[in-house]
Symmetry: C2
Subunit: 151 residues, 2 copies
DNA sequence: TCCTTATCGATGCAATTGCATCTATATGAA
DNA sequence: TTCATATAGATGCAATTGCATCGATAAGGA
């Protein structure tokens, strides 16, 4: 494995990607704060749990999905539990683990976050590029993903 | 101003952008850590200061360029100063301010970070997309930037 | 069964970040 | 000049994060 120097095009795209992603996150977090809502990470977790339905998810499954470190998930779940947005249930066939399920209050909070988050996406992405361009962007980004995604 | 619901394409592109940017940062930070090197933020600042040359930069100029909060720049500069990578000079025509200049040791550190950072960019972006695709990606991202950049 | 190793989730502690505010200097109007 | 306001940069304190590790249970081989 040889250490390579990156192509100029790669450096340019990298720089744009870093800057844009940080700007978008920052603006969205600001909008959430302005609305007295919790940060994006809470949404991610509530979203995954909502998708998972009544069966809930094990914390380690959440770790895979949301791209947060294990200890961050552990602590975030503690906060969500304290706030009554999720509930932790013992799981029968694995004495180490638990299952985490979203509560009605959690669904409601998720909905309220989405009102702001979704508007932010619409404003920051939807309004800037056409549907075809967004598809193209998603396609290119998909190939940078790990694992890469064709579609 | 009406709250809008985002288009499906926008949501998909958003999701990819968030995931990919976090993955790329994480992998790059890991590579830097593995090499016993300081984090990306250090590179950003050292890079800007290297570009600025002997004249250096005022901290507030750095704040604009690197997309870090003012207090983070202040503290990062303190660390860089302690490590001898930059030097803080009083500035004659503004008693509140200072000028920050990169030192030879700072240039050397920047070079060593780049050896890893650049290789990471080459591997994670350059190897995944063609030059034309990278240009296309940069173009699309440029339009999401604030302010938008055509080229 | 017993022992070693792996996995799940939590946590102590140090470092970093965010927020609010502070000090000091500069600017500009009266 | 004088005072009010704005700007540059630093910092106290609380919250969050990262790192290392822990305790508990599982899994698998001898």
């Amino acid at each position: 494995m040889t250490k390579k120097s990156p192509a100029a095009e790669a450096v340019k795209a990298w720089g744009r990607l870093m800057r844009v992603s940080r700007q978008l996150v920052e603006k969205t977090e600001d909008a959430l704060k302005a609305g007295g809502l919790p940060p994006l990470a809470w949404y991610d977790v509530l979203h995954e749990l909502a998708e998972a339905g009544e069966g809930g998810l094990r914390p380690f499954e959440l770790v895979d999905r949301v791209l947060l470190a294990q200890y961050n998930v552990s602590r975030l779940l503690t906060r969500l539990d304290v706030d009554g947005l999720v509930e932790k249930l013992p799981v029968s066939d694995d004495g180490r683990g638990q299952t985490v399920r979203i509560t009605p209050a959690g669904r409601e909070t998720r909905r309220r976050i989405w009102a702001v988050y979704g508007a932010s996406i619409a404003e920051l992405m939807g309004d800037k590029l056409s549907a075809a361009e967004l598809e193209m962007l998603a396609g290119l980004l998909g190939r940078l993903r790990d694992p890469p995604i064709g579609d």
